[in-house]
Point group: C2
């Protein structure tokens, strides 16, 4: 709570105009501020009196319809006439508006920064603080959007589960679906295609069976074997709202080995333990540490495996999810700050060993005053018939 008050009082005392030049797809900040989703770069600025976007004539009429209600849309072309020879557009705009200091995001393009600095315009770039701190605390509309993305994610996860259940195990121990060898590539394009048909974009979907799952970001390739854990990490973004869903389950088709069963149980317990701790004010690092301790206590140490690769539980327990798939706040040993009501974070303990692969279980939750709400309802089960 103290932290929140600090931020808002700072903001009131010293309002510095904000400037972003980016495409909505690569900058969640410009999408958050403008509500305008465009694949090419455009300019957003915010003074104490107005919020404006400056767009190309190609985007002008669409921007008028789609940008946020309080956002003024300006056609770039008439403004271009006021740009002096050798002057950058942003420099000209600063001159016209009479602004000599902008607050810019960490990702602000250096070439634009250079031109502004050369023209004597100051730039403030707060690295250790989000550009829009209010993005961390989701409002009702944002929570609805994330819930919608998670609901579709669960629907697609159920499709995956169904395909695995309907698959038969062939004599070589691989899955066959509709009389064809089932591959990670087929599953990925099938699931991602089904997302698109529902207005969601998914890429890099992880379907990583067996030892491939020991590398948390291995996408997975080749035929899917029975009897090994299959890490399925699915994270689509709504084309309409821009908000992400993110969810992981780990399945075994048929019977799992005892060590995999034990690991699954430990990861599930780590998830439960972490979730039980969640409430407004809990220190993020403490939640991570509690989950990590459950895993160690269950006999799954973290370190380097026989292949020299990191093994055990070697990533953060979770991350913020919103207009970015990975955003603040992190639920990691490095984040000693409290989680607050309205933070949306993933809780995703995992175990990874080169001997047998990986287990990861991920739910998405919103922090509440005394507890949390889980966006996910799908149970965590390991073995599928």
């Amino acid at each position: 709570m103290r932290q929140k008050n600090d931020l808002s009082s700072k903001k009131i005392k010293t309002f510095t105009p904000k400037l972003i030049i980016a495409a909505s797809e690569s900058s969640a900040d410009i999408l958050y501020a403008s509500k305008f989703n465009a694949p090419d770069d455009f300019l957003y600025y915010e003074t104490e009196s107005e919020k404006c976007i400056v767009v190309s004539p190609l985007e002008y009429s669409r921007a008028l319809e789609e940008a946020g209600e309080e956002v003024k849309v300006i056609d770039r072309v008439p403004l271009m006439k006021q740009v002096r020879q050798g002057e950058s557009f942003a420099v000209a705009l600063s001159r016209i508006l009479g602004i000599n200091c902008w607050q810019v995001p960490a990702s602000f393009p250096y070439s634009e920064a250079q031109a502004l600095l050369n023209a004597g315009i100051q730039l403030q770039c707060l690295e250790d603080q989000p550009f829009f701190p209010e993005r961390l605390v989701k409002n009702e509309k944002e929570i609805e959007a994330i819930q919608a993305s998670v609901a579709v994610t669960e629907e697609i996860m159920c499709q995956l589960r169904d395909i695995l259940i309907k698959s038969k195990i062939n004599t070589k121990g691989f899955l066959e679906y509709k009389r064809r060898i089932l591959t990670c590539e087929f599953l990925r394009s099938e699931l991602e295609g089904n997302f698109k048909k529902k207005g969601f974009s998914a890429s890099h979907t992880i379907i990583a069976p067996g030892i491939q799952g020991a590398a948390p970001h291995n996408h997975g390739t080749g035929p899917v074997p029975a009897g090994v854990p299959i890490v399925a990490d699915i994270f689509p973004r709504s084309d309409a709202t821009g908000y992400w869903g993110d969810m992981t389950r780990t399945f075994v088709k048929g019977k799992a080995k005892p060590i995999v069963k034990r690991a699954f149980k430990a990861v599930k317990k780590a998830s439960d333990t972490a979730k039980k701790m969640l409430h407004d004010g809990v220190i993020a690092a403490d939640v991570h540490k509690a989950a990590a301790e459950v895993l160690t206590a269950a006999g799954f140490p973290t370190g380097r495996g026989k292949d020299g690769m990191p093994c055990g539980f070697f990533h953060g327990l979770g991350h913020g999810v919103g207009l970015e798939i990975h955003e603040a706040p992190r639920v990691s040993p490095l984040n000693e700050k409290p989680l607050v009501s309205g933070n949306v974070v993933s809780i995703e303990p995992g175990l990874y060993y080169p001997e047998w692969g990986g287990i990861r279980l991920e739910d998405l939750v919103v922090i509440q005053k005394k507890s949390y709400r889980n966006f996910n309802t799908m149970e965590m089960e390991l073995e599928l018939p």
Copy 2:
């Protein structure tokens, strides 16, 4: 030709190490240089003796498998131990490598630039020149990748054509497909879903019927009417190679009005005229101007429409396509440089009027010594039965 020689001689004389910090999805440069496709930021550097990427342990083993052959993959974590208190990672790396001047792309993040500059490290940022000039001239492998993306684009465009042909016109003049009103939204998600099932990502697909098509970037919404032009601009990216396809056709279900027929004929003629001029050495602006003249001569002026919006032919004739959907070289009145063999550009004249909508026809071509090769084979037809 002269221009090319200038660039290469400059490069030999003064090699400055290169530094990029970005995600492959938002920076085509880092994807081009590393061949590693990752959704989160990583670091690429290039000295006279080596090309390296520094990635998180989560991505390390995947990067080893997927990065370019000549690219060394470094795990970020062991390096982190050499970072001094308060030092940024890029500053520490520069110190370890003994580098005091980096060449960085225009989009280099300002916060990283600031840290480097504060540590006394110089940054060179060439704004008017691509970071990797060699990206403009596609090699055989790149041309194959683009051809593959265009082939899938044509396949999906044929699906759209089929759906329009199979649709019936109801008593209110709207299309019905499989007994349901056909909407732009349905077509978009259907086509984009089919792309995904083939391993391609498409978003912002334009299906803009009637007056919606008068704004070149209007995505299109609502039921599809018969008898009006439907601008279909489809541009998927291969998930495997990162190379884009880009193609536009304009269809009318049923009979087109005489003015729409005339406009279509003029745009087709502008496309043919422009393509006939293409060869190594032709000035890009001249190609644009020739196409623009065809349209004016056919009685379609460019200016402001009755609604105050730009009308006629008010965008560039084409743009480069590769790892970015819009990249250099531009085929616009502002680009007085020659196109050279290996440039891949779109040729997409269009006409837009608020009274009846838009016509745009877009092929993708590669410039050759004495001519060009068209990646597209699908004919340009207006009226569909």
